[in-house]
Symmetry: C2
């Protein structure tokens, strides 16, 4: 088999097989509609497993969540604004290629370029499909001003008011080497090797201009962003993200995710959003020794179906008033109660997190948990108040330890010929 496909470009292989769309439907979600398989196996033209790169918004936000994540934050090491812009241009071209299932530098770049030069593409994704790869780029506050508040690249006047450092939340145990960063790159794909290949090649292009500050792999999505996706389970064994808004609900996206006009203080953020990242280690061993009753009380939902403890099924709206023998059926400090819009001035966040496991610590405990990612129109209204309340009161906090944190402004999407972040640099 390998020989018969050798030498055929990535896109051609997938197209010839006509099954590009299948792999992604069967990943972490695990439940696959029979229709999807039937459709893919017919003689119809292939469903491409590419996500369009160009558009008003960047991909990887409302895109149906892929199965795997590789995210990296960079510190910019150059002082040159021109070099920074050049990097963003090179990244844009590379991302456009990779998300189309092509090599960085074009077909053949990994294996047929100049024999005396390093190949432009590193090659480990050569035989793999695009796997719904998306790459989403954002800017941290430290790209605009240094620790002393000095302008680094002439961008200070365009620092959005919303791009403040997140406050210290009760119980935070943040590690500097897992937090912040000048630029973030989120690569999501259904095949982890495709996501790793994307980050690795962007790291490579950044050599001499920016270097990795932290990076994280996530192996299983913990939310759905589309009504077409089933709700996955997190490492507490519970369905996660049941109440997540779905991208099909454009009114919610417009109100709670996408920045409109100069909201947050800077016009370049129009059509963009803000990304909050939190590396949340779960104290798995403690959780695993707690009773089913405790677990369900803490979450406020049943473990089996994800239905609220007030009754019904997974998507039944929780009833916080309904009383049982020992008080409300749903504890007022349960996770579902504290996260509910009714307790948060009606705000909603688009969660797009991933389960992670990073080996074990020196006490033999698994370093596992949730790499939380959320996209919000303004972190000051849509994240900070909720997290402040949760960190103090959430029954779940006992089982969580926040070890990393980041906040990034995600610029609008690009059209052909533009580079990502161009609006910021042309504004400034």
């Amino acid at each position: 088999m390998a020989e018969s496909t050798a030498g055929v470009g990535r896109r051609k292989i997938l197209s010839a097989l006509g099954v590009g769309g299948v792999g992604l439907a069967v990943g972490a979600g695990g439940v696959l509609s029979a229709q999807a398989v039937t459709a893919a196996s017919q003689e119809e033209p292939a469903v491409a497993d590419t996500v369009p790169f160009y558009g008003a918004h960047q991909a990887g936000i409302t895109t149906a969540v892929q199965d795997r994540l590789h995210i990296a934050a960079f510190d910019v090491t150059t002082d040159s604004r021109d070099e920074l812009i050049e990097l963003l241009k090179e990244w844009t071209a590379a991302i456009a290629s990779m998300t189309a299932g092509q090599e960085v530098g074009g077909d053949g770049a990994a294996t047929e370029g100049s024999y005396e030069a390093p190949p432009e593409d590193t090659g480990e994704a050569l035989d793999l499909s695009a796997s719904h790869l998306t790459v989403t780029v954002g800017f941290g506050r430290s790209l605009f001003v240094d620790a002393d508040g000095e302008d680094r690249f002439g961008l200070k006047d365009h620092l959005p008011e919303a791009l403040n450092e997140l406050p210290h939340f009760s119980g935070d145990q943040l590690e500097s080497s897992r937090s912040d960063g000048d630029i973030v790159v989120q690569a999501c794909a259904d095949d982890p090797q495709v996501a790793v290949h994307a980050v690795r090649n962007l790291v490579r292009l950044a050599f001499g201009t920016a270097r990795v500050r932290w990076s994280q792999l996530g192996f299983g999505r913990t939310s759905s962003t589309s009504t077409s996706q089933v709700t996955p389970r997190n490492l507490f064994g519970f369905k996660d993200g049941t109440a997540n808004p779905k991208s099909e609900d454009e009114a919610v996206m417009d109100e709670h995710v996408w920045v409109s006009g100069a909201a947050g203080g800077s016009a370049w953020t129009n059509e963009g959003t803000y990304m909050v990242t939190r590396r949340i280690r779960m104290t798995i061993e403690t959780w695993d020794r707690s009773s089913l009753a405790e677990q369900e009380t803490v979450i406020g939902r049943t473990k089996k179906t994800g239905a609220p403890l007030s009754g019904g099924e997974e998507f039944t709206e929780p009833n916080f008033e309904l009383a049982g023998r020992r008080g409300p059926l749903i504890d007022e400090n349960s996770h579902v109660a504290l996260a509910h819009p009714s307790r948060n001035n009606g705000v909603r966040m688009l969660r797009r997190g991933f389960n992670y496991t990073d080996g074990s610590d020196n006490l033999g405990r698994l370093d596992a948990g949730l790499f939380f990612i959320a996209f919000v129109v303004d972190p000051r209204t849509h994240y900070v108040p909720m997290q402040t309340a949760m960190a103090k009161n959430d029954l779940l906090s006992e089982y969580l330890r926040h070890t990393g944190s980041g906040l990034f402004a995600i610029p609008a999407g690009v059209s052909e010929g533009q580079y990502v972040g161009q609006g910021l640099f042309e504004a400034a």
Copy 2:
């Protein structure tokens, strides 16, 4: 969709959809035969995506390599032989359940057990299929004797001669916290969440008896163990494992993988094998700046098709005599030359490694590479000589750093009613 499947056991969901076998065909390999999809979407009975647990040999060795890995080594913390045996019995039952796509403790254990007790299964794999899960258990030298050579559990007389510590190889930079261990558990599955779930639940059962010494996730297979699989690429961007023996070649398996009789010095190892693990970090950044010529010279194959530099296609036998203008076309210290059976007394090893990426180090370099796993009939003949030569002469060594190492005796498979390792404890 989620609601309609809620409350239905794992096996039923997959069976009803009739697509259990699809997901695994589309993983890291990336190339999927159209026939596989067609077959799965017909009204025929489902192809189960389970690998049989019971058998003469343990699964996860000659099993067609799954896409993802979670491997953990344990230190036994009890002094009690009975507790150790009890753990192996509990593990055996749990592995039998999980590899059949069932919950630890049986259907409903995660969500419907005693409300006042911790659930027997942690639940995060509830909606997922078996995903070809295999769990392979092995014993390290330190289970038999402690650092002073003292018998720990009455097993010393049955310590196989072949289960010696590996020697120090030139260039080794081993970290104790990534090396060795009393017991190893290798979980492989096409869905990483299924592999992580397996290890996590075994860790949990071990509480008070054994604890994790190290663990490692691998996201992409780097070899094929079956003629039905295409050759994947490693993080050097090259096809890896082209010359790997295939499980269909039973004569090779019998000669080079499976222990027969009392080979290696102890009868309980009959039908078993030895597992070598090496965490091999790749100096990605250096590699990525080397020319295509250098890369191909070091490997001895073309990057594009994996053909030996002496010509032909991927599976063409390399010709080490064929001369080019500047000497042999295949450098005598290339990886393909040093690994070739003709340079190693005809020995072959069954490689079953995985690509890994564990974030980045404090210099911003990706901590990425190969988690090497090989199964051999005797490490003294089938691993140590080759690795000694490679560590000294392999051109590739410049781009590699071995940071972890392990050697484990893998006992035979079990029949229903037995527990894994029973042959050892009954012999002793």
